[in-house]
Amino acid sequence: MMGRYRRELSVLAAYLVLLLILAVRDFLAVLRGGHLGFYDLGHLRALIVSNAPLLVAAVGMTLVILARQIDISIGSQFCICGVVAGLLSKAGLPMPLVALASVLTGAGMGAANGALVAGLGLPSIVVTLATYAMFRESLRWAREGEFVHDLPAGFQWFGTGQQAGQWLVVGIALVVFLAFAWGLRHLRIGRDVYATGSDAEAARLAGLRPRRVVFGVFVVMGALVGLAALLNAVRFPDVDPNAGTGKELQAIAAVVVGGVAISGGRGTLAGSLVGVALLGTIGPALSFLHTQPQWEKAIQGVIILAAVATDALHYRPSRARSAAE
């Protein structure tokens, strides 16, 4: 068991070291008569709530990468879904239907990606680069960058008030995470995703339908982006049409740092969770450790490289051996 989760555990260890450093910092601050910084409950809660949408998107990205694909259009999908949710809510739709519409909008865009990749056999990096631009530009064309203002009272925090709303956002994200983590391991379809990502041709020869799997993961990716966009939008009084910008890179980075092999077939959602947590903690950690915030991106970049490099070093010997046989 320990062997199987080695990658996840090493990322977790790195994360715990970071938490420990922050704990020492807070401890010293309190000793000097100051306040808690990172471990201030209000700050922790805000951090978790702001990362909940990313976790949902990272769940979808984990599936996509496990199936040996990539989706860089999710940032644009995220923007569109958020705006759609805001507009429909303003038009008077009840929140459950708004949520459904956001999820379906994302699933629709995911289906377009999936059809191009699985149906026509086009490489996903090219397809989603194209749809990334198309989705973004069509939103810009339709809305000209306008925020969605004057949302009904029922929109922000699902109309439950900030306290309960925050619990709801984090709760939904956790339920989605747990459901997929469980399903990936315990459902047949989860096994199909791993098999497809490891060796699509072998999966086909085993009687699976790898193209359907690939189509499926793009649709699920889109649906989860729709949900993530909604969870993000309800945190604010207005909907920012650029809320999703850069989300694709954050999600991919979290998944890769979490130990999911970019070559598909290896990794777990537990790893992606730690990846989201680690990358999300870097920014606040830097500010509490009095480092200039400009370093955040650079340090995240170093962590991503380190994750990919350890993966390559760890797997190279066995790969080379099986190829040489």
Binding site: R4, R185, H186, L187, R188, R191, Y194, A195, S198, D199, E201, A202, A203, R204, L205, A206, G207, L208, R209, G265, R266, S318, R319, S322, E325
Partner: protein, 505 residues
């Protein structure tokens, strides 16, 4: 013989992980001659060629090129010595033009050297003219036909001043007219003093083109003689003349009803046509034939990888359409592919997950996988098939070739198939694992499972099969009963009797 000896191999031996590929083989090639090299699949021809081209180092023996002993031969050394090989499948760059392809490897490999396009084109034109090929040098190679591509390869090797040219099954996919053209080029090259090693399964061609012939069998030299001294029957005897060396655990099983039957089956894409045969419960049907005769292609049709566009497939008398592997699996048709290391198993996944990949439904409760049942099922197969693995959680990529093969077999057996198709089931596995796979096949047939076995090894075909369907040129050349099957009879059919039919390229 006045002609200069270009190539002299003496006492060459080569072993791969305990398997003897060549033993004490001597071979020579003179300037201006065509020396045919014959032997069954696996007789050691390819290994010998690879030693000449420097891809392999011999364990014992010496190699001399024009009287000079060559130690530490490697591909670039061989190239510099004027040794060139042309394989059945041309190895050209499809997106580059003819002139560029010919230039590659001829021009000094300096990255910053300016490309002189005019010079490239002129040289390519001259070389093509020398072999009488009318091919435009500006054409992209992908637009050329297979025989044209061969000519480009020949021109390229001439440009490199090749004195020794190895032609590996050059006529396998050529029409009669194209073969004639190639022979004309070969005669031309002979005039220029080029020595050629000619490998072909088409024995009827050899008297037309070869001066001498050498036969290999089981890695050993049988005989080298002048082509004019031997008949076609002699050639066949030279290739196969040995007793069955291995003991095959063939169990006599009463044959049951016909399980799989195909009639006039064909698929234009893969060149298979008018195939009719059947397999009964408890029967092992051997599919014999030379490389390229359509055996694997037939299996791929039956498994839905290249669906048939003619004829019919009946499973237990019911007409079925097999349009995808997923459908084939539903119908109970199991196929263990030839290229096991690439696609027979999923290397990243553990033994257990590989075993249950086709039967996840049966180890699930309401769609939820039961890891206990998965473990039990995998453990059961590990012990039944004697799979050597540290645990069922070990990734299959860490196992040996023979054990990977058994895992692939376990997956299909777990699915309880109606018919099992095995493509080269023992290729590249060690002797012990091979015997065990044969024993398993016997057991499975004994339990009433019909098995279709493709094999390039004649002893395996003769030892394991109840009946043998011999393919040639994409169709069944004949079906032999176990009692009537001899190596000579199978080979006669596989070679297609005299001129034989040819697969259009």
């Amino acid at each position: 013989m006045a002609a200069q000896t270009l190539l002299q191999l003496t006492g060459i031996s080569k072993t791969f992980g305990g398997v003897r590929a060549l033993q004490g083989v001597s071979f020579d090639l003179r300037a201006g001659e065509v020396h045919a090299l014959i032997g069954e699949n696996g007789a050691g021809k390819s290994t010998l060629i690879k030693i000449i081209t420097g891809a392999y180092q011999p364990d014992e023996g010496t190699l001399q090129v024009q009287g000079q002993p060559i130690i530490d031969n490697d591909p670039s050394r061989a190239h510099a010595l004027g040794i060139a090989a042309i394989y059945q499948q041309p190895a050209l760059f499809p997106d580059l033009t003819v002139a560029e392809n010919i230039a590659l490897g001829l021009e000094p490999p300096r990255a910053w050297r300016r490309v002189r396009w005019g010079e490239r084109r002129t040289r390519a034109e001259q070389l093509l003219k020398r072999i009488g090929a009318a091919i435009s040098t500006d054409t992209e190679v992908r637009r050329l036909t297979m025989p044209e591509q061969q000519l480009v390869e020949i021109a390229r090797s001439l440009g490199a001043d090749a004195r020794v040219l190895i032609l590996d099954e050059p006529t396998a996919s050529l029409s009669d007219q194209e073969v004639e053209n190639l022979f004309r080029v070969i005669r031309e090259l002979k005039e220029h003093g080029v020595g050629m090693i000619y490998i072909s399964h088409r024995l009827e061609e050899l008297p037309q083109i070869a001066d001498r012939v050498t036969a290999l069998r089981d890695g050993a030299l049988v005989r080298t003689c002048r082509m004019s001294e031997v008949s076609r029957a002699d050639l066949i005897r030279m290739m196969v003349g040995r007793e069955l060396s291995a003991v095959f655990p063939k169990i006599e099983v009463p044959r049951g009803d016909v399980v799989l039957e195909v009639r006039d089956l064909g698929c234009r894409e893969s060149g298979v046509h008018d195939v009719s045969l059947n397999v009964r419960a408890g029967e092992i049907l051997g599919l014999a034939g030379l490389v390229g005769a359509g055996r694997t292609e037939l299996a791929r049709i039956l498994f839905g990888l290249t669906p048939a566009d003619a004829g019919e497939i009946r499973l237990r008398g019911r007409l079925v359409t097999v349009d995808s592997p997923a459908r084939a699996v539903q119908l109970g048709i199991a196929y263990l592919p030839e290229d096991r290391r690439r696609h027979g198993v999923i290397l990243d996944m553990p033994v257990s997950a590989n075993t249950t990949l086709g039967v996840l439904r049966t180890i699930s409760n309401l769609g939820f996988l039961s890891f206990d049942r998965e473990h039990d099922l995998a453990a059961d197969f590990v012990s039944r098939l004697g799979i050597k693995t540290p645990s069922v959680e070990t990734p299959v990529g860490n196992l040996s070739g023979g054990n990977q093969q058994k895992v692939a077999l376990a997956r299909w057996l777990a699915a309880k198939p109606a018919v099992l198709i095995l493509d080269e089931p023992t290729q590249g596995v060690d002797v012990g694992a091979k015997a065990e796979i044969h024993r398993l096949m016997g057991e499975l047939a004994g339990q009433g499972l019909p098995i279709v076995m493709i094999s390039s090894e004649l002893p395996e075909i003769l030892g394991m099969s109840d009946r043998i369907a011999v393919l040639h040129g994409g169709t069944v050349a004949g079906i032999l009963d176990r009692a009537a099957a001899t190596q000579e009879a199978v080979l006669e059919l596989a070679l297609g009797h005299g001129a034989g039919k040819r697969v259009p390229s």
